[in-house]
Subunit: 220 residues, 2 copies
């Protein structure tokens, strides 16, 4: 489809096709990946200047895997954890970011993300499809020590950014301490040390007035 909007992408794919037909499909996916840089999360980067996007978030948590691996509940292959985290949000290119405290959006998240996975990974040659889809499925199901630790890091990272920005996203969305502890409790399973840190951080944020106390609610 030679519309003006995606014409450079089509042309680039045609150039790749001259080299190798598989390369054309892989390159089209590489170009799609670029769009994750425009998917905005609710969390602000550490200096509070702007919202974080899902591409840089994915980099941050993948790098955290290399640094924090010894805090995993069970021994993990840290490179594998990083790989799962590199891939875990790719589906947001189609499905958008789903705020962890948004109960309504959470209810439709699995279905939206599964459709996105079908389209995005489905366009890859089989070898790459299997690697990327496999990593995404492993992360989603939490069926390995690596996936459980990866999921813990994905929960901890926005808590750190919220702390650094004096609760910016919590305050913007009326989140309470009870809700933060409820939603992020899976950190305990993947990384007990990091859960101890997270609990301390919530307690301190409450003491500083960045996060209201309060029971778990369904949140906004």
């Amino acid at each position: 489809v030679d519309t003006p909007a995606n014409e450079p992408t089509e042309r680039l794919t045609a150039l790749a096709e001259r080299v190798d037909a598989g390369l054309a499909d892989r390159l089209r996916f590489v170009v799609e990946l670029d769009r994750l840089k425009s998917v905005l999360r609710r969390t602000r980067i550490g200096d509070g200047s702007r919202l974080e996007n899902s591409a840089e978030h994915s980099w941050h948590v993948a790098a955290m895997a290399l640094v924090l691996a010894e805090h995993a509940a069970e021994p993990v292959d840290s490179e594998r954890v990083a790989l799962l985290l590199l891939v875990h949000d790719v589906v947001e290119i189609d499905a958008g970011d789903t705020f962890v405290y948004d109960t309504d959006a959470q209810a439709t998240k699995d279905e939206r993300e599964r459709r996105a996975a079908d389209r995005l990974f489905g366009a890859l040659p089989k070898a790459q499809h299997d690697v990327l889809r496999g990593a995404w499925e492993e992360y989603e199901t939490g069926d390995s020590a690596e996936a459980r630790f990866a999921r813990a890091l994905d929960r901890l990272q926005p808590m750190l950014l919220n702390y650094l920005t004096e609760g910016a996203a919590w305050r913007a969305h009326g989140i309470t301490a009870g809700r933060v502890l409820e939603v992020n409790a899976p950190i305990a399973e993947g990384a007990p040390d990091l859960w101890a840190l997270a609990r301390g951080l919530v307690e301190d944020a409450v003491a500083r007035g960045w996060l209201p106390e309060g029971e778990p609610t369904s949140g906004s």
Copy 2:
């Protein structure tokens, strides 16, 4: 140092210290990583709307490693390539991004980045220091098939974004086709297929008027 600017970081480190002294050093590094999201490159993201930052660039090239590994000149461990690319630009937190076409800045790059590596990786406990510093050194020296392929991807990615944005960074900085081919020639060593693609892309960009022909020069 309890200055207002970094007080939340200090407080966060103190909370981590209560859990584990090593965690405090690792967490301080994790917080420093966040600053890579504010290091801007010369290249625009694919829709042309803004400059790319080094954190999302690092994510993009690391994901490319998983997708394009079979185009490496020699067989590579794609997870290792991704790891090298996750870490390769961390030194820019201190040293800033150095434009590949800026000859003057390139002359001081190694020294600036080595100092940055000493400070940033040097603050980590030994186990993590060795993993991250090792990855960065391997990438810098190009002393493995993985590093040579990683370096090829790091060169190809901005060429793709330049093509998608009709030569935005090339035009903004007066870069010629001869210079693009000269500076990016290392792609040929790490990934011959991708070099064939890159050459086709340059030729097409010239034909479309996005990139002036011209001999290699020292550029701006």
